[in-house]
Amino acid sequence: MANVATTVPGPLARARHWGAGFRSRDTWAAFAFLSPWLFGFVVFTAGPMIASLVLSFTDYSIIQTTHGVGFANYTTLYHDPQVRTALRNTFVFTLLAVPAHVIIALALASVLARVGRAAGFFRTVFYLPVMTPGVAIGILYLLIFNGSYGVLNTGLGYIGITGPFWTTDPNWVKPGLVLMISVWSVGASVVIFLAALVGVPRHLYEAASMDGAPAWRRFKDVTLPMISPAIFFVVIINTISGLQTFDQVYTAFFNQSTPYGTNASLMYAIYIFQEAFTFFKFGYASALAWLLFGIIGVITAIQIVVSRRFVYYEGNSRG
């Protein structure tokens, strides 16, 4: 063990090694290629983020004189009952939507992986809904999930199930949104899973079959570990997307022509938007946005730590 410890470079050595990299022409070339992106990142992402952090300590409203308010915005959001409501809704939505999205996408990709020549056609068909604007999805949600006359409840009626009032009953609003949004946007993840599934070496399945592993064991012990990086990616992206859900829900419930939003449908991003662009409290909205950024950061970090135990990378010694 002592020998192993001496081979790990210290922080100083690592810094020296990193600095030495800048003597290499390749490093400069890499930075040159990256410079357009770096410029865009600084001007359009990092700059506004820093500005919003500064604004979160002010009462900025664009049209009135700005004053520093210290941590008042953060104290206010701590005591704001709407923040708790919006966060609870957003967490519930994400907790339901991400697993539903992953399971449906994986199931569809597994079926598509078995389709021969027509795979390309089906891939396109499943991907097409992804190109639908969020606003259109919001309107479609109201039509498809209409409690009395919607397609979904009509279909459920044929098999003897009386569907709930998805769009008006506060208890069913979030499950309805989960079904609509997670299923509608499943195409992108299907493509990712399909690519991962096709990449699983055939000989692993053959070996498992020869050992007498049934289909479920082959899926659990071969497929899932081999496509775990893809699953991890989809989970991370959809968790972030779920926590930022906005346009579909806003269109369905908070638009000027659909003013029927209740506490059950208030998502956190919608609350931020309302505070900023309806009530002109940009300072407070910035604080709200930073809270969301922090939450997403913590959740993503937890997912990354947890992933070390479950995600298998080929060629990685930790695997």
């Binding site: 357009p36 029927y260 059950a264």
Partner: protein
């Protein structure tokens, strides 16, 4: 030249071009928006014949050079323009927003504009002027004027043998009985609504009918949890509950083909409901053969009342071309301009063999002239409806200008939706709304 240097040079060139393009675009946009002599208008993009014929007259009045980007007024766009220093010279927006921007100092008072251009403020309807007056100063010039009457489908009334006199909010028990008589529920689904109180949108109208203005005249005191407002909300809920409850009621209402030829009146899917006057125009175009009646909305004392809303022109602080903005506002809302637009529309409708129901403006003098000089009979149903619309205008009230109009509206709208969804009682919801609204007003004034 070594490979790395070539790639470095190419990439640097691309980055430099990107920066230059960005800078050039920004500079170009900046120079366009501040071009001297141009009147920059926000919120009034290309519109229908009424908008365009008046815009042509107003453009001539300001001497040309009018910049009207597409799209209606949007708070985000306006605030972005203010933040970047490219303030438009004139904005066209919902009257209910004017008070908030005025209280925040974003709009200029129009005192000198009205004086210098000799704008006759008496020609505009008082309720509309009140909406754009904050702390005794006028901040906007009213334009369109939406009024609300009860629209009745005579065929439903006849089929259910419901007396038309029952459709009167002054007699709540009879109105409830009429709603029950006209509603149709089949297999657990609403297939016809008897009477739609149009909630949450028309809550101010119902509260007024029960005797309370939900906001004081100075816009600084909310009266949302006044017992009369609570009673009004409870009554409208009883109307909805008697017709299948909110879930079934709204699910059915969401299926209506509102602007199409198979609309809810043409298909007898509703008995009656309070509605803005522009819908008569929609019906005249999409289903002119429907049998309708318009009734005035009445308060509990039996007096006619009308909840009015509409649009207005305002000049933002920092505008460069205020003289042209003032000329434009005056011209766009003058009697002669409205009349010219009405004559043009009447001619267009006649040429395309479509009915014409007139234009409802914030200028009472213009309205009289329009009706007298341009209206021609459609049929007895629409003729009577148009008369009622004109008649109800003198009983108008609006929501006064408030420093927190958006928060105020959100407070009562959210309260009503919570009651509709069964989450709170009317009193609980309006108590909460009162607290939210008054806190917002106190913070903003």
């Amino acid at each position: 030249m070594p490979g790395w240097r070539t790639s470095f040079a190419i990439t640097s060139l691309i980055a430099a071009l990107g920066v230059l393009t960005f800078a050039a675009t920004f500079a170009s946009a900046h120079s366009t928006s501040t071009k001297a002599g141009t009147l920059n208008i926000m919120g009034f993009g290309k519109g229908d014949d009424v908008a365009e014929s008046r815009a042509a007259i107003a453009t001539a009045a300001v001497g040309g050079n009018v910049n009207r980007p597409s799209g209606s007024f949007n708070d985000q766009t306006f605030l972005a323009a203010v933040a970047s220093g490219n303030v438009p010279d004139l904005v066209y927006l919902d009257r209910q927003k004017v008070g908030t921007y005025a209280a925040k100092g974003a709009f200029l008072p129009l005192t000198s504009c009205i004086k210098s251009q000799k704008i006759n403020m008496k020609q505009y309807r008082q309720a509309a002027v009140n909406e754009v007056t904050y702390k005794n100063q006028v901040y906007g010039i009213p334009e369109f004027y939406d009024v609300r009457t009860i629209l009745i489908d005579n065929d439903v009334l006849d089929a259910t043998h419901t007396p038309i006199g029952w459709l009167n909010p002054a007699k709540p028990a009879q109105l409830l009985a009429a709603a029950k008589k006209m509603v149709k529920i089949e297999n657990g689904k609403v297939t016809r609504i008897g009477f739609d109180p149009k909630m949450p949108e028309f809550f101010p109208l119902w509260a007024k009918a029960y005797g309370v203005d939900i906001l004081s005249k100075d816009g600084l005191h909310a009266h949302l949890n006044d017992p009369r407002a609570v009673k009004a909300l409870a009554y409208t809920m009883s109307l909805i509950n008697a017709q299948g409850g909110w879930d079934r009621f709204k699910s059915f209402r969401d299926t209506w083909d509102f602007f199409g030829s198979a609309n809810q009146v043409a298909k007898d899917q509703v008995g009656a409901w309070p509605m803005e006057q522009w819908y008569y125009n929609v019906l005249a175009g999409s289903s002119p053969k429907v049998h309708i009646t318009a009734l005035q909305f009445r308060n509990l004392k039996g007096q006619p009342i009308n909840y009015e809303t509409g649009s207005a022109w305002a000049i933002p602080k920092g505008a460069h071309n205020t003289a042209a903005a003032c000329t434009w506002m005056k011209t766009m809302t003058s009697t002669s301009t409205w009349l010219a637009a009405a004559k043009n529309r009447a001619a267009l409708r006649k040429a395309s063999n479509q009915p014409y129901t007139g234009i409802s403006t914030g200028n009472s003098v213009a309205d009289q002239a329009i009706y007298k000089q341009t209206y021609t009979s459609i049929n007895k149903y629409f003729d009577e409806a148009v008369k009622k619309v004109l008649d109800v205008q003198r009983f108008s009230f609006g929501i006064p200008a408030s420093p927190a109009s958006a928060e105020f509206k959100a407070a009562w709208n959210d309260a009503v939706t919570r009651v509709l969804a069964g989450q709170q009682t009317p009193k609980q919801a309006l108590d909460q709304a009162q607290k939210e609204a008054q806190n917002a007003i106190n913070a903003a004034k």
